[in-house]
Amino acid sequence: MKEQQHEAHVKGEQKQDRPVMRFGMAIDLDKCTGCGSCMVACMSENNVSFREDESNKQDSITWIRVYELTNGKSYPDTEVCYLPRPCQHCEGHDGHSPCVSVCPATATDYSRETGIVSQIYTRCFGCRYCMAACPYHARYFNWWDPIWPEGMEKYLSPNVSPRMRGVVEKCSFCFHRYQSAKDKAYLNGEKRVAEEAYQTACTQACPAGAIVFGDLNNPEHKVHKIVQPDPHNGNKSKNPRAFRLLERLGTNTKVYYMSDREWVRRAGDNYLAHEETGKISKPHH
């Protein structure tokens, strides 16, 4: 009896020590300059391959891609805004993100520990269902073997395995950084990974400081303070500047965007003419 109580106590403590995390991002589109540093930071961190002609953007592998939005007005009232798009790490309803639900090989999974949608290259056999399912075009297929020009393979990082022809790849929120931060925390006797100990390569590199990354569940983290996710309303942000992409699909993404400009916020979803920006019908489950 005593032992059982003790066990229950230990379990409870573990739960307290390791509460569920939901890593996510807040990207300030009014600060984003469209410089593309996040894209290159990501490519060089994650051994992303490149080819001589990358101008066919449909098969150009960019885990985070900066899109250009425009208000469509003519000169001189034109406005442009840049939107960096990593994998949105959809939680969907209870971890049913669009890609995870369709993968026949369990090559992609939703982590209940971190909220990160993983991609295991050696399990993937290239059916590309996940690419069809992803509403954000965040997944890329390796149509060719990755080839590094002679000598350049020297800079490849051992922390991320280079992919091969025939598999799908995507942004992992630099999961290998989380792993090494977790190892380090464990060695130092810390129970949790500190906010600054785990940051993605794009967040770290952004010269404008437009990306904030952290645990959306942790009220101490900057990202939580900015986003103020509302768990009773599908994690919708309480920040009036914030929005998510295609929110009404119910993908429940963990990447939030911010802008003061209404036309930018409106570009985040397919609104009907009579619908007010930011006010969308609730997703059905």
Partner: protein, 722 residues
């Protein structure tokens, strides 16, 4: 044995069912997916001990601190250095992809001499000793003929000991012809000399300003120290500082500013003067730091009423008044000068107008204002002892005529080199040394430059990369890249304080290259006499240590030395007379109805360092598609010319023509077309070569008669459907 139909079918069906029930098909399927993925050519990066080494990035004049992650001896990732005074952890995409330059196939791997015809690409590897002998003998031969002045050197935009050693070699040798590629520093020279009447450089106290008026400066497109600019911009957003971007085209800087003021191209000076006139008439002037103010004021008020300025610039009168009120009433306003990356000088008229605007607001050498400060002067070597031949050579006129014009504003007028060589005046160049520069691609009128260089009998390139100029050379003596060497990196780039970074070797040299400083010292020593005497150091590292003196220790420890206690050189502004000549675009309006303007983007490198494969990968398919480059055009202009999105057209200017594709954008003035700088390479590798058009093929220098500097901001053009 007889096989009947029945037993045959039983055998086949039974066999198939048996196989299906066995693990064989599943095993085979599993194996085939493993076989088709585990190809031996998919690299498996070896693991090892991870360490970080700090150094300074010198790929652009920005001078950011970087941290290089290494696994054993391999550098695997470059990151921004936290706590660095310039970038504090931030980094741009060129800096991030430096390892593609270090390990890339565009490196020149050993000294080589040309075998075939020029530009044919046939080279023979030689030893460093042989290369140094060829160079010193050739130079000795020219010098003995008493023609030392016919040797010229072109150096890149950077400063510090290495370009200084090259200049020193030339001086001791007897040639006045040390030239620099255009840079923001060289574009600032005329401001200091022409407007402040002093030597020095400009500093912008951006972080403390509370109203920014940018006359086309690419705040987010590579102007100044790019990462510092990005950080300042975010700070302005947080503090709600108004940033007004005055530009013909909706650049990234304009897109993220608080207000884009669209202006007729080339009329920035008029708008600045118009704003100044409104400020004066509304009594919003705070300083009399303008010499001859009363006379200038009278002329200004008479010549630049808002209505007239509005007509010239296309900016409505109420906007001019609003800008004047905003600028005049802000506590710490600051006007920025230099289009795009700020590399092209601009006209004296424009420089003077924008500086006068700063002076009127009383911000010169004040918090949040424009600072005129002295250059960092830590290089204090003894004067070169010149012998008779050297003195004779040095007394010859400079090849580009810099310093001899009545204005004498510039130390280097490199844009004249093509015209002078092709016109065979003032004398014929016998040899050219090129270090850290790619004039064949980066100078305006690149076809003229190429033709000119082909007339120089002996060209030596010290480039680390297979660039267009190295392809034209006779002798290649490749330098290390920045991650392989010690070097001082003085940072100007619009900083108020003096900052010197130190570049340290992070990896050992990957190829058979030599430090350029070392090559220059060796060459001088081989030439003997007073030339050797001017280089008393045993090697480059000794030279660097001695030069940096007491800064060396702190540089080794922290990687950066900074001094906020700067010497200001001047406070009073002397504006150019208001009748100073206007620099217009080359070409005739009737045969060339459109106006082509170059633009800069941070994603494409437009100087000596070529764009990396990662950078090119980020470039939109509306800038490069396959091999084609695009021109931006307003849909209205396109329609009038029968052009549609993606149409192939021929773009012609008075300087040349090119095949281009059309990209329709609303954010450009009708009648104006724009093309990005930095594409159209013919050298390097397949990741960069043959993509888009080099705008320098289409545009030539336009000299400002008041300063002698190249002030071209556009050229007349026409588009024909192909």
């Amino acid at each position: 044995m007889k096989v009947d139909r029945r037993s045959f079918l039983s055998f086949v069906i039974g066999g198939a069912a048996g196989t299906a029930l066995s693990p064989l098909p599943w095993k085979l399927m599993d194996d085939s997916s493993i076989w088709s993925q585990m190809w031996p050519w998919t690299p498996v990066p070896p693991d090892g001990e991870v360490i970080y080494e700090d150094t300074t990035c010198s790929l652009c004049p920005g001078g950011c601190g970087i941290s290089v992650r290494k696994v054993d001896n391999r550098a695997i990732k470059i990151e921004g250095k936290k706590g660095h005074p310039i970038n504090d952890g931030g980094i741009c995409l060129l800096g991030l992809s430096g390892l593609q330059l270090l390990y890339g196939p565009t490196r020149i791997k050993s000294p080589m001499k040309r075998m075939g015809e020029r530009g044919e690409g046939k080279w023979q590897k030689i030893s460093w000793k042989e290369a140094a002998t060829i160079l010193s003998e050739k130079l000795g031969e020219i010098r003995n003929k008493g023609e030392a002045h016919t040797v010229a050197a072109i150096s890149g935009a950077g400063g510090g000991t290495v370009p200084a050693l090259l200049q020193r070699l030339l001086t001791a040798y007897g040639s006045p012809n040390f030239m620099r590629m255009p840079s923001q520093s060289s574009a600032e020279e005329p401001v200091l000399k022409g407007v402040f009447d002093e030597e020095g450089r400009l500093g912008y106290d951006l972080e403390n300003a509370d109203y920014i008026l940018s006359f086309g400066s690419g705040i987010l497109d590579g102007w100044g120290s790019p990462v510092r600019m990005f950080r300042a911009n975010s700070q302005w957003k947080d503090n709600k500082v108004p940033v007004i971007q005055i530009e013909t085209r909706l650049s990234n800087s304009a897109a993220q500013s608080s207000r884009w003021v669209a202006i007729n191209p080339g009329t920035e000076a008029d708008l600045a003067l118009g704003i100044a006139a409104v400020m004066i008439s509304k009594k919003m002037v705070r300083s009399g730091n303008i010499s001859g103010f009363r006379g200038w004021k009278r002329e200004l008020l008479a010549g630049y009423p808002a209505e007239k300025v509005s007509e010239t610039t296309g900016v409505p009168v109420d906007v001019i008044v609003e800008l004047a009120k905003g600028f005049g009433s802000a506590k710490r306003p600051l006007a920025l000068y230099g289009r795009g990356k700020g590399v092209t000088a601009g006209s004296l008229r424009e420089i003077s107008a924008i500086t006068a605007l700063n002076a009127l607001s009383g911000n010169i050498n004040e918090e949040g204002g424009l600072w005129a400060v002295s250059q960092a002067d830590y290089i204090r070597w003894p004067k070169v002892d010149t012998d008779k031949i050297a003195s004779a050579g040095l007394s010859q006129p400079r090849y580009d005529g810099a310093g001899e014009d009545s204005s004498g504003l510039a130390q280097s007028l490199i844009h004249r080199i093509a015209g002078n060589i092709n016109g065979e005046e003032p004398y014929q160049l016998q040899a050219l040394l090129v270090a850290g520069a790619n004039p064949c691609h980066d100078l305006p009128d690149s076809q003229g430059v190429n033709a000119a260089l082909s007339k120089i009998p002996f060209i030596v390139s010290f480039s680390s990369f297979n660039d267009e100029t190295a392809a034209m050379a006779d002798l290649l003596m490749p330098d290390h890249v920045y991650l392989e060497k010690y070097e001082d990196v003085p940072v100007c780039a619009g900083l108020v304080k003096q900052v010197v970074g130190l570049s340290k070797p992070v990896v050992s040299p990957q190829f058979n290259t030599h430090h350029l400083g070392e090559t220059l010292i060796t060459t001088a020593k081989m030439m003997g006499d007073t030339i050797a005497g001017a280089f008393p150091w045993e090697d480059y590292e000794t030279c660097l240590k001695e030069t940096l003196g007491n800064k060396w220790d702190s540089l080794m420890e922290t990687g950066v030395w900074e001094d906020s206690d700067v010497n200001t050189v001047a406070k009073k502004v002397k504006p150019a007379p208001l009748d100073t000549k206007i620099v217009t675009a080359e070409g005739d309006v009737n045969s060339f109805p459109l106006l082509l303007v170059p633009y800069d983007t941070i994603r494409i490198s437009s100087s000596y360092i070529g764009s990396t494969p990662f950078m090119v990968k980020t470039v939109a398919d509306t800038i490069i598609k396959g091999k084609d480059g695009f021109v931006e055009i307003n849909p209205q202009t396109a329609e009038a010319n029968g052009l549609k999105e993606g149409t192939i057209a021929t773009l012609t200017t008075p300087r040349g023509g090119a095949r281009v594709r059309i990209h329709l954008v609303h954010g450009i003035q009708p009648g104006v077309i724009a093309m990005v700088r930095g594409l159209g390479h013919t050298a390097y590798d397949g990741y960069l070569a043959d993509k888009g058009v080099n705008i320098n093929d289409l545009i030539g220098p336009v000299e400002d008669p008041s300063s002698g500097l190249d002030a071209a901001w556009g050229i007349r053009a026409k588009l024909d459907k192909a």
